[in-house]
Assembly symmetry: C2
Amino acid sequence: MREPIRIGIAGYGNLGRGVEKAVAQCPDLELTAVFTRRPPDQIQSRAQVVPVEKSKDYRDKIDVMILCGSSSNDLPEQGPFFAAQFNTVDSFDLHARIPEYFEEIDAAARDGGNLSLISTGWDPGLFSLARVLFSSILPTGKTYTFWGEGVSQGHSVAVRRLPGVKQAVQYTVPVPETVEKIRQGETPVLTPREEHFRICYVVPEPGADRDAIEKAIKTMPGYFADYDTTVHFITEEEFAANHTGMPHGGFVITTGTTGGGYRQQAEFRLKLENNPEFTGSVLAACARAVYRLHREGKTGACTVLDIPIGYLSPESPAELRKKML
Amino acid sequence: MREPIRIGIAGYGNLGRGVEKAVAQCPDLELTAVFTRRPPDQIQSRAQVVPVEKSKDYRDKIDVMILCGSSSNDLPEQGPFFAAQFNTVDSFDLHARIPEYFEEIDAAARDGGNLSLISTGWDPGLFSLARVLFSSILPTGKTYTFWGEGVSQGHSVAVRRLPGVKQAVQYTVPVPETVEKIRQGETPVLTPREEHFRICYVVPEPGADRDAIEKAIKTMPGYFADYDTTVHFITEEEFAANHTGMPHGGFVITTGTTGGGYRQQAEFRLKLENNPEFTGSVLAACARAVYRLHREGKTGACTVLDIPIGYLSPESPAELRKKML
C-alpha cells in the first residue's frame, strides 16, 4: 500500500472536528496535526495539537492543510497565510467575494509552489458542480437551488443577537407547493417568499417582550423581511432536547427542453443529518484530489469545477472504469 | 466571439439526430458534416452528408467527431477507426467490455495524437460521475442505481424477436416500496426482483398464441426470469398512440454514515421525456471538454471521470466562479 496522504487541520470548531472524523474513515488519509490559535490543551483531538505560529515547522510533514476557520473572520487572512506554505482546501462560502478571494489565494499559492482548492463543501461545492453540469447539458434549462429543511447558522445567529433572546435556532424550508411545481417540469420565476419559508424556535429571557421579539425577527431586513416566517417560543429544556442538531440539505434542479420539444429534468439532492460532518467529508475527499494534482505539477488556486471527479476517489482510474463506469 | 468548435456526427440514428439537435442549441458548437454508411441522399440532416470512407478528407475540418453507432455492432470497429483520425466522443455502454474498449481506443487515439472520451451519456456517464462522487465522499456508504420508469431498448428488442410478436415495448420500473425504504435511509441487500419490475406491451401477430408469448417473455433468462413482469396485449393503434416515445430516467442514491453516527444521503435523479435527445446533449457538452483538453495537449482515451466539470460549460472559469460557484 502507498504511504497515506498527510493531512493537517487548521481550526478546530464543528467543521474541523467533522474533517477529523472524515479522515478517520479514509485509510489513504492520515491526520498529522491540528493547528489552533487557542491554548493547545483546550483541544480534544486524537492528533497532535500545534499552535498556528509553529505551522512552518510542518511544511515537509503535511501534504494538504484543510482550513476550517470561518469565511468572514478567519479565511480572508488564514487562507493566503497557509496557501503560501501548504497545499490547502477550504470552504470559503461568501459567494459575492469568491472571485476576489480566488485571486488572493492564487497569488499566495503560486508563490509557494502550492495548490489551493477553495470554496468546497456542498454549497458552494457539490451544488456548484450540479449547477454547472446541468446548465452545460441543458443550455435552454432553468436551474433552481433550494436549501433545507435545515439549520441556517447565519439566520440563527441573527436571531440570537436580538435583545430578550436567550437561545434560538432558525430552520430554512423549501415551499412544498413550489417544489412540486418545479418537479412537475414548470419553470416559474420566483420571489424569495415563494422559494423558502423560515421557522424560528426562540428561548426568551425571563420577562422578555415576546411580541417585540417576534416583530423584530419578522421585519429584519436581509434575513427575514422577504420571507414568511413562523416564530415559536420554547423552553430551554425543549431547545436542548430537540434543536441542537445540525441537519441540512437541499437540492439543485434543472428543467430544460431539447430540440424536439421534450422536457428533460436533472436533480441533485442532499439530506444530511449533520452538516459539518458531511462538509468535512467533502473537504477530505477534495484533499485527495489536491494532493494528486499538485504531484502532477498543478499550482495556484482552483475550485471543484477544475477537478476531475475521479481524483476524489481513493481508487485508480482503471479500477473506477471497471467498477463504477 | 471565438470560432465555433467544429463537430462531426458519425452514424445518424436516434442518437445522431439527438446530437444534431443538441449542437443546434449551442452557439459555440457548429455541425460540419454527418458521416454515414447509408446512401447519403437517405439522410435528412441540415448538415453536409458524407460517406464514411471520405472521412479522412475532413481531418482538418472537424475538431471533434461524435460517434453515434451502436455499442454492439458499430463502435468496436468504428471507435478505433475514428480515434486514429479525430478527437472523438462516444457512448459505448457495454459495461463489462469497457476496460478492453478503453485500451483499444487509447492506442488508436495516441497513435493519431487525438483525444477520445468514451462511454459517456447518462449511464454510463452522468450516473458514473454520481457513483464515484458519492462513494468518494461517503466511503462507508451503500450506493444504488435504479433505472426508469423508461423504455429499455435491449429488452424491447428481445421481446420483438419472439415468434408471434409483431411489435413490442418494455418499460423498466423501480419497485416503489424499495425506493421508499432507501430514501428513508435504509441500506438493504436487494435481489434484482426487489429493485425493478418490468412491463411489456405486445402487439401479437394475428392468430398468435398469447399464452405462449407471455410464458416465453416471463421465463426468458438474463432478461425477464429474475424479475416480476407484466405483459399486456394491445392493438397496433394503441401501440402507435401511446408507446412510440422514448422516455427514461432513474437515479443514483448513496446513504452513508459519518463518524458521529449521522446518516447522510445524496441522490442524483434524471427524468427524461426523450432519452436519445438527452444523451445527445451530454455528448455535445463532452465534445466541448474534449476539444479544450486536446488543445492543452491531452491525448489517448479518457472518460467523464477524467474531465473537470467546468470544461463542459461554454463559460470561462472566471465567469463560472462568479455566477455558479
